[in-house]
Symmetry: C2
DNA sequence: ATATAATAGATATGCAACATAACTATAATA
DNA sequence: TATTATAGTTATGTTGCATATCTATTATAT
């Protein structure tokens, strides 16, 4: 490979004055960094219940929508059906949910949470709410509403064309 | 495995009325869904420049901070040093950046963008700004400020303890 | 009625993001 | 000068996410 030359006559950056204002000027970058930081804490909270983000969301959806089909669930969570299968396998192995045969459609399964599943949901959901309060408490009501509305608009912007 | 039984007497959820209000009540979930939707669009924009999110961020940082060391860069981007190595390898192979020996510390490399690197940065950064305008234009000034402030508070909440 | 197409779920597989342990070479320090 | 720490690298593993393809079953189209 021929040696690519850097632009000449550039002052070196010293350790002290590293700047990321170009990236900080991008909304998406801030969104990613904030979410990543939040996620570390959330994963720690969920780990007490042997859950990760997708299995937790899955359990929440099944508790809220008993009898749900796997395809419907994958759709609602915006995850691929093959990936949901392994998540459900794990939840079923832990006897948190059941896959019940649907009499009217023998291809499909109706998903339901067991008693243990409901109990785990209650505890985990409350723990997540506590985790959320950690940062939501620092926001003003106006900020919370603006944030909520902004996130919805962002989602709407990209999901309307993307789906 | 003994058959786990679902809770009895539950009305099945019909296709039409699947609800995700429990998840929507969680801020982190909305954040994740919005970011995922945004990311699809962003990746498409970056793909025109043969870039992904981390290589793009890396290039931006090197352009803004010529002479930067790899460790400093990994720190600033909050990515692991080993993962940065392969990103830099690829950028160097494309002659977008150079790794220059540092005379005062022969372990270290000073990272600099080549002319091609600067040019790609200019084009890609503008394209990303256009992408961002797609959703930022739909937000009110108040929403934009609240979102910005909220994201910073979220990051502060979790990075102050986490680092 | 039967052939064809579509759907529900599962399996296999691959890529990308991210993390850790351990190595080489240098530099800092005790 | 011996020890420790640091910069970069290599190897490797895990998780998240996507696609192609398979089966069993159901819907539809002639």
């Amino acid at each position: 490979m021929k040696p690519a030359t850097a632009l000449p006559a550039q002052k070196n950056t010293r350790a002290s004055d590293i700047s990321d204002s170009q990236l900080r000027g991008l909304f998406g970058y801030n969104l990613k960094r904030s979410f990543s930081a939040l996620q570390v804490d959330l994963l720690e909270v969920l780990s007490k219940f042997d859950l990760r983000m997708v299995p937790f969301s899955t359990l929440v959806m099944i508790v809220e929508n008993p009898g749900l089909r796997q395809s419907q669930l994958a759709d609602a969570l915006a995850i691929e059906r093959p990936n949901l299968v392994v998540v459900l396998d794990a939840l079923e192995r832990r006897e948190l949910i059941t896959r019940d045969r649907v009499p009217t459609d023998r291809r499909a399964y109706a998903l339901r949470a067991t008693l243990a599943g409901h109990q785990l949901f209650e505890k985990a959901y409350r723990a997540v709410q506590t985790h959320e309060a950690r940062y939501l408490d620092r926001l003003t009501t106006a900020e919370r509403e603006a944030l909520s509305s902004a996130l919805n608009k962002i989602r709407a912007t990209f999901e309307e064309t993307g789906e």
